[in-house]
């Protein structure tokens, strides 16, 4: 039996719809002048997402709309093999970025960068201990020498070490 909707794409359209509705409600809390253009944009987003959602349904209207608004060709790129990846691998890749951000915020660049590179290479990248450690040390040294040493940009020290 064919499904009535293409779920991932349909859900994505609903997320944009929710964003549009939320933004519209938010815009209306401001006086008329600063709210004018945001309100218009919110309405445009709502209409677009509704058409998008309709186009993701397996109905005559959905199929007709899809022909006009969702062709095969997309001016974007994506890493080969990335489409077939499982949820766990995607979650892992996002986790590493978020973990690095959290570590930078807490401990600063000089502590977080070598730890992040080493742990990423060792666990996610499947590299040996020595190359992972070398990459971590060399990158951190290069970052420090370029930004702090050469250009005199202070590196963020981390909330635990006096950063704000």
């Amino acid at each position: 039996m064919r499904r009535l909707v293409q779920w991932p794409d349909f859900a994505a359209a609903l997320v944009v719809l929710a964003l549009g509705v939320g933004f519209l409600a938010w815009a209306r809390t401001y006086p008329s002048k600063p709210a004018a253009v945001p309100t218009l944009v919110a309405w445009i987003a709502i209409v677009l997402s509704l058409i998008d959602a309709l186009a993701r349904t397996e109905t005559p209207l959905g199929r007709t709309l899809r022909r006009f608004v969702a062709a095969e060709h997309l001016i974007e790129w994506s890493a080969e093999g990335e489409r077939a990846a499982g949820t766990a691998r995607i979650a892992g890749a996002i986790f590493w970025v978020l973990a690095y951000l959290a570590a930078v915020a807490a401990f600063g660049f000089l502590a977080a960068t070598p730890a992040y590179i080493f742990l990423y290479l060792k666990t996610h990248g499947g590299r040996a201990l020595v190359p992972s450690a070398l990459a971590a040390i060399l990158t951190t040294a290069a970052v420090w020498a370029t930004f702090q040493g050469l250009f005199r940009y202070p590196l963020y020290p981390g909330l635990l070490f006096g950063g704000y």
Binding site: A12, V37, L74, W77, E80, W96
Partner: protein, 499 residues
């Protein structure tokens, strides 16, 4: 003019003149290659150094930086999908797919060729319009800015190929994000959720770094392997062929150069808008728009020609009126004032030699930096053969340190990370990131110009159509939107005929 050119040549052809120009080129390339840091930072960083130099030497240093930054930025855009500077982001769309196909050398060659030609055309345009600068800049008011911004936003529909609905949706989200922060029209803050950091709005550099660098690193981390796919040609043999392609596709090169020069000359719009418009125009003009985003060399040539030609254009209002065309020019304005060179029509009369030194430096550095990029293309392209798991943490770390260095704010780092995740989600669900970026760049300009225009006219919206420059831009915009429809109609007519 001849006397000034000779004076400028005299300043350049001294050991110190050559030294400062080469130093400018090296600094420009280095800052261009580093994601998140661009020409604005490079000029700002070296401004105190110019205090000890005479005006001509300072102009040689600055011209060297300006001419070289975009050449450096194009290399990382092509090889790592990480724009060195915001205007290089458009180069990623086709430069990176080319690198993935093992054609990094071809893309780098085409980028170098197009940006050299674009840079030269931009400078020659600057020379040509110097006598009529005043009339040109004064012709643009808020209605014209609004129409230009609208034209940029409508380019969304073109730039997203078949996925135009999702492109427009992403554009709408981009506009919502552009409204965050201080509202320059009503004078209050909006949509900040009580965060002081968001008062300045969504910062473009962290957003771009996140959307293009971090999100791509997430995608690579998921995919594994190397950037250039297995089976792709391993050698970088097509660099000169790439240069030749920028000449063979002379229409795209010229189109990008003209767009770069014109948009660069409009204060407030800047190189990013110019590069995206040049990309859209290349897609628009192509007989095979569906090949863009998959490694069409014209998708590299258009934005790169625009990237270097915009410098010549941006100098027009900066030198003639002291109105900077971009953030880079705003910092450069400080250098001019520091050296007692008061921008305005009299600048060219009183300090013609110094200005010609700047123009000469811009020309030479454009050529020099691209020659350096070409010479280094082989080792640089080797990056695409490295295991992505080695690249990912290094690029993420360097990009985020670069983002922090720009304003020394932790918020920028976190914003870049969040935009990275957003960018990846957009990739997964087929929302083009380019449209969000265009909207983010143009949102504030469009809203401000809209309100200013209505204030000027007493809420009479016909002001957008009664002023000649505004009407001309509007007609261009309509033509721009009609081209795909005309092309589709032609295709439909041809198909039955062929059948």
């Amino acid at each position: 003019m001849l006397e000034s050119t000779l004076t400028a040549l005299q300043a350049l052809l001294t050991p110190l003149g050559v030294l400062f120009l080469v130093l400018g080129v090296i600094v420009g390339l280095a800052f261009g290659v580093m994601p998140g840091i661009g020409g604005t930072t490079a000029i700002a960083l070296l401004t105190p150094l110019t205090f000890a130099l005479d005006s001509s030497q300072a102009m040689l240093l600055m011209g060297g930086i300006m001419g070289a930054v975009s050449a450096g930025g194009s290399v990382t855009s092509i090889l790592l999908n990480t724009p060195g500077n915001a205007p290089n982001a458009a180069t990623c769309f086709d430069g990176y797919p080319l690198a993935k196909q093992g054609k990094a050398g071809l893309a780098i060659g085409a980028a170098a060729g197009a940006s050299t030609i674009g840079g030269f055309l931009g400078v020659f345009t600057l020379l040509a319009v110097i006598p009529v600068m005043k009339q040109l800049v004064l012709a643009f008011g808020p209605p014209e800015y609004f129409m230009l911004a609208l034209m940029g936003l409508c380019a969304i529909a073109v730039a997203t190929g078949g996925q135009f609905l999702r492109g427009l949706s992403a554009g709408a989200v981009g506009l919502m994000l552009a409204f965050v922060g201080y509202d320059s029209v009503a004078g209050g803050v909006r949509f900040t959720m009580g965060s002081n950091y968001l008062w300045d709005g969504i910062q473009l550099v962290p957003a771009l770094t996140g959307l293009f660098a971090i999100s791509e690193m997430i995608a690579l981390s998921v995919a594994g392997g190397t950037i250039a796919r297995e089976g792709a040609e391993a050698r970088v043999t097509s660099v000169l062929q790439g240069v030749w392609l920028s000449v063979r596709h002379w229409k795209t090169t010229m189109q990008g150069s003209v767009i770069g020069t014109l948009i660069g000359a409009v204060p407030g719009l800047g190189g990013t808008v110019a590069a995206f418009l040049a990309y859209s125009a290349a897609v628009h003009a192509s007989k095979a728009p569906e090949t863009f985003g998959k490694g069409n060399i014209e998708g590299v040539i258009g934005p790169e020609a625009s990237n270097n030609s915009k410098d010549g254009g941006a100098l027009i209002p900066t030198l003639a009126f002291g109105i900077p065309g971009s953030a880079e020019m705003a910092v450069f304005l400080g250098v001019l004032v520091l050296h007692g060179l008061q921008p305005g029509p009299m600048l060219l009369i009183e300090h013609e030699g110094v200005i010609f030194a700047l123009i000469l430096a811009l020309l030479v550095s454009t050529l020099l930096s691209n020659v350096v990029v070409l010479a280094l293309s082989r080792p640089l392209a080797a990056v695409t053969r490295v295991d992505v798991h080695l690249l990912v943490p290094i690029v993420v770390a360097v990009a985020l340190v670069g983002v922090y260095a720009l304003r020394e704010t932790l918020g920028d780092v976190l914003l870049a990370g969040l935009f990275g995740v957003l960018g990846y989600i957009m990739i997964r669900f087929g929302f083009p990131r380019v449209t969000l970026v265009i909207a983010l760049v143009l949102g504030e300009i469009a809203e401000r110009s809209y309100h200013q225009s209505l204030n000027m006219s007493g809420d009479d919206w016909t002001i957008f159509f009664t002023r000649t420059p505004s009407l001309v831009i509007f007609l261009l915009l309509v033509g721009f939107l009609l081209v795909p429809a005309v092309r589709a109609l032609r295709k439909r007519r041809r198909e039955p005929a062929a059948a």
